[in-house]
Symmetry: C2
Subunit: 326 residues, 2 copies
């Protein structure tokens, strides 16, 4: 099942069911108007959405319209929890004194649609993208094991976790987490249930490459599967260790990367990068200093994942960096 | 105006208007069922709630019932953003390499009512309370000044930000923020508009003492006003520096403390403490080691603030530490 949220002038938008090929859509009116409602009452509402999805895929939708990602808000435009892990190997991890599973709490009050502009005061803030996967959860009780927590994954989607790298050192020193250095995150047009992935979903990981382009040039083709050090069940179990996690929490993987990234041999790094800081860290490793600049106003970032059949699974995140309107 | 949320078996409960003296209440049915709705559309809905509040205070409520804090969820049982600052002087700040305004993002998916049990796996986690104030915001645009941000305070309430101190060192070393060491936060039964404070609200600060008791013994009587180093406008402006803050965000002050706490002279510290870690830090300063143990199962914490007239402003947070149910 594929779900999206259309802009309608309200804060939470209108839930739509999207066909498997992302060609057409149908308002979920009569079942639920908002995705959070569905997550709050999944057992009752999701079978009704599934029926509508099946009808849509079979061309039996009664009020079908062409799906337009430009009309999308984030599938969950506001989330009660948005936490991002660091699930992939990264040269940046060396900056952390303590190894192991890292989770960074974020803010869910202002999540962006896939094609919304990234608005920023200044390029001098060192604006970086961060292409990753994210899971939207069910209720997951306090103290759940990773296996139990994995059962709490309701939907998957792609994320672009923007970072303002120039603000990170001060916040790192404060040690209380990322606030100003982590502005609004954008999500793919569509969130999907796990069955859409078929065999590509295995033990909490998505075994497919993530395609990331910067100004139209492909910069990342990392496989999101085998080298995910902590799978989604582990990420969620970490989060619910000391408290209940409630339905509609979004848990991100952090930028997808492959282990070769951390290698000194340049040839081990054929699959590119999913955040500029990673590329700069590698440049520093090889040449003593970074040579790639961060995003400039007008730069575009496109993030997409295709299924085994070559079709886009989530639609594409496609954002442009723009100055803040005054 | 005073607002609370009554349990009704749903995730967001039912909005009630509470009389100034906290004696009686009235469902807000017909105006709004949930507090988030009101925050989303404050200009339209809050005058209607104010009319109901006025009627209630004048004994003209039509379906009035006695107000019972035991029936309360958090005023906002789920929030799209919960961030806590460190607005008061603290001996614990010495642990931070970087001084200045610290904000720690938290999770809003599971906020607790004032009298809900604090459930915890083990006393060995070093469970601490944290008595503070919090503001619920309107929409606050990216880049707002502290003065502009201060206009975005819609409601105030009290918070008990529980910390699991034994888990803090590992999370501090990871540098990504508090996840496992910051379990569910509880809030006062009632959230109030600023006019309820009269002259006690001045330039973003509440000039009243916060009363904190531990197992019935008064341990904190700190004035929340003059020594608040960063007022609520500054806290919110820090939060919205690089992104929009949306209505219903909760911004906390962190534990209230008075500057004497940081002094070497024991006599400078007559007003007590609002988290045990602070007390232990002072014991360490004076005696070389902490002597006060953290919370034990069965321990109770009560947090309350009284107005100039001696009446409780927000009702009391009154929680007991209990083992996690399996």
């Amino acid at each position: 099942m594929k779900l999206a949220t259309y802009q309608d002038g309200s804060r939470d938008g209108q839930l739509v069911v999207v066909s498997r090929d992302l060609a057409s859509a149908h308002y979920a009116t009569g079942i639920a108007s908002r995705l959070q409602q569905v997550l709050d009452d999944w057992g009752f509402l999701s079978p009704q959405l599934q029926d509508l999805y099946d009808a849509l895929n079979q061309g039996r939708g009664r009020h079908t319209f062409p799906f337009d990602p430009l009309q999308c808000m984030a599938p969950l435009p506001r989330a009660y929890q948005w936490v991002e892990g660091q699930a992939y190997p990264s040269l940046l991890q060396a900056q952390d004194a303590e190894p192991g599973l890292v989770l960074a709490p974020g803010s869910g009050d202002n999540l962006l649609g896939a094609c919304e502009l990234l608005r920023c005061q200044s390029e001098a803030l060192d604006v970086d993208f961060g292409a990753g996967l994210a899971a939207i959860t069910a209720d997951v009780p306090q103290g759940s094991t990773p296996a139990q927590a994995l059962d709490g994954v309701r939907l998957l989607l792609l994320s672009n976790s923007v970072r303002l790298r120039s603000l990170e050192p001060v916040e790192r020193a404060k040690g209380a987490g990322w606030v100003q250095s982590a502005p609004a995150t954008a999500f793919s047009p569509v969130a999907i249930t796990l069955d859409e992935l078929g065999d590509a979903w295995d033990k909490g990981r998505v075994h497919l490459p993530l395609h990331t382009s910067w100004n139209g040039r492909k910069v990342g083709m990392c496989d999101a599967g085998p080298e995910m050090q902590y799978h989604f069940g582990q990420l969620i179990a970490q989060l619910c260790a000391t408290r209940h996690v409630r339905a509609g929490s979004i848990v991100g993987s952090g930028p997808v990367a492959n282990a070769g990234v951390g290698s000194k041999a340049k040839t081990d790094w054929p699959k590119g990068y999913n955040c500029i800081a990673e590329k700069r860290a590698m440049e520093t490793l090889h040449g003593g200093q970074p040579s790639t600049a961060y995003l400039q106003f007008g730069d575009t970032v496109r993030i997409e994942m295709k299924g085994m059949d070559g079709l886009s699974l989530f639609g594409a995140i496609d954002q442009e960096l723009a100055p803040l309107l005054r």
